[in-house]
Symmetry: C2
Subunit: 356 residues, 2 copies
């Protein structure tokens, strides 16, 4: 059994998102793509297969390898397999694999078909839909990429069974971010009420959480597929902080963990700037603590200049000014410049921390 | 004084093509793009400027440098200059510079504005319009790229005054190709009747030739902007042969010269396959000879397998078969597979050659 929905994107393009309730259903769907296919795994996701398909590339795992030389390996493999523009690139793995497979598919012969099979929670709720392909460049996360939506995204909660705890936890950071970007409180309420079944990865709870979370993201994407209207930028809530943290931490902190921290920082800055109510700020922090995120982390004072430089490199830096996504209310994001003193206090003092 | 026309492309995008009749008019137009601009030159086109603008990259000149490391230099310069998504990349030079500036602009922060100023005839009539960005990859020409139309293309015949003769001659190869892709014979007749003023680069003749040639290309592009409908492929007339020749010649032969040779080969193969009339084949060869193209060149017998392998790598290779563009008539291109014996005879025997 499978449910599905379709996203309508720029230029008449669409993405079909399929929810497949077993590994068997996933395999059946995958076998329908024929033989002119290139599979891209990383050293983790390859283990989900007992025997590997022909025409496959296995990339080393991790953000450190999210660079041109990995993309070059995918393109080389496609060329060696004599694939043409009518072939299909299947990215099977987490966000790094999916982002790079998408970039390679968009570049090879100026564009092949793309299918993504996200195997991490983070990638299911974030990277796999929305058409953002990317690699990192000189320490700037996702600086280089294209808008290239997948034709199909295949999501199966069954893939999450063996996901390491830290990866699963990281994905929840993005899910919580989506909860506060939604103008109804369905996802927020579900996260509050179903904590235990979510952390124990109950399959029904997972499927419900995935559907609600993707629904929020899909809404923003459809209204502004190529991030030209200031709508889709809202999905970057928490990300200016998160990317800078990741950058100065040399990408050791998990992305969703950085997002959770950034969400708390954005809530505090929004409060300090008179945009976010104290009540919403506290609700955000409370949900993040419920899911065991460390929002008390502080940037050492001596690293403030590094952090500030990393913020300036962020992609939301338009015409030299840095605009942060802040929340006026649940589902009401706004883009604002922030006084650097406010940002400094938010990241080096971690105001509002429990043991402050 | 300037004339202009607008191309309507996929996803509501447009390209404005401006014909500017002096260097002064070109400079005035360029100064309107403001200060958040990155200029890309090569070691030739930089000489058109007495003093270089701020934020510029000067790439080494030539097809050998049409690779990722050049694109990386453009992206690095943009990052160092703190450019954001609202900035403008200006590619100023021949096809290599324009193709790579377009690729960098499409990738930097997933897409900045792009302005192209072609300074060679080849680039004016070919690479600058149509939105194909590219680099070469492992000997396969333009294997990696994106569809990313320029916002503006600025064309001035004045830039052609100092173009080396060999470069100018090469550009005429693409112009002649366009003449046979046009369903009216305006460009064909103009090339036949105005040979002397064209080769002496009379400015009025040049402007007329540029406008007629771009009109032909624009028609194919607008009907099939992302080469999905089998219409735009027609512009690849002669190119399967040309790319393979360039590949086995290690890119020493000039592109337009290879296209002229390929056009003659395509005419002969079309004739051999019963698609092209003897009369059209002869008309093609006659015009190519009038403009002094060496269509008698032969591939050495011992290099046939290399040539064949290069053909198989061509981007028009769909699902493992190679389809060539042949001409049923002026302006009536068709895509056909060709028996490899026909191709072999066409390239190693050069049938129809004058001193054969």
């Amino acid at each position: 059994m499978a449910s599905s929905f379709t996203l309508s994107l720029a230029g008449g393009k669409t993405t079909d998102v399929f929810f497949l309730d077993s590994i068997k259903a996933l395999s059946d769907k995958l076998s329908g793509y024929g033989r002119r296919v290139l599979w891209v795994f990383d050293s983790n996701s390859r283990n989900l297969f007992t025997s590997l398909p022909a025409n496959c590339v296995i990339l080393p795992s991790g953000e450190h390898f999210k660079n041109w030389s990995s993309v070059e390996r995918i393109i080389s493999a496609a060329l060696d397999a004599h694939l043409a523009r009518d072939s299909v690139f299947i990215g099977f793995g987490g966000g790094v694999v999916c982002d790079m497979t998408a970039l390679a598919a968009s570049l090879y012969m100026r564009g092949c078909s793309l299918v993504l099979v996200p195997t991490s929670l983070l990638c299911m709720v974030d990277a796999s839909i929305g058409g953002k392909s990317a690699i990192d460049f000189k320490g700037a996360k996702n600086l280089v990429g294209t808008f290239y939506p997948a034709k199909d995204v295949l999501i199966s909660a069954a893939c999450l069974r063996t996901l390491p705890e830290a990866e699963y936890h990281s994905g929840l950071g993005e899910v919580i971010k989506h909860a506060f970007l939604s103008s109804d409180d369905e996802l927020y309420s579900f996260l509050c009420s179903s904590h235990d079944s979510i952390v124990s990865r109950d399959r029904e709870a997972l499927t419900r959480m995935l559907e609600l979370s993707l629904k929020v993201k899909a809404e923003y994407i459809q209204r502004d597929p190529e991030e030209r209207k200031g709508i889709r930028q809202a999905l970057n809530l928490a990300h200016t902080f998160a990317h800078a943290l990741e950058s100065i931490d040399n990408f050791n902190v998990k992305h969703g963990v950085a997002v959770a921290w950034g969400l708390s920082r954005a809530a505090w800055c929004g409060y300090a700037a008179g945009v976010t109510s104290a009540e919403l700020r506290d609700r955000i922090d409370a949900l993040l603590r419920l899911y065991d995120f460390d929002i008390d982390r502080r940037i050492e004072r001596g690293r403030w200049l590094d952090f500030q430089a990393a913020v300036a490199k962020d992609k939301k830096n338009l015409s030299g000014t840095v605009r942060f996504v802040l929340l006026e209310d649940m589902g009401v994001p706004v883009l604002r410049e922030l006084d650097s003193e406010i940002v400094k206090i938010a990241v080096i003092s971690a105001p509002g921390r429990k043991n402050g």
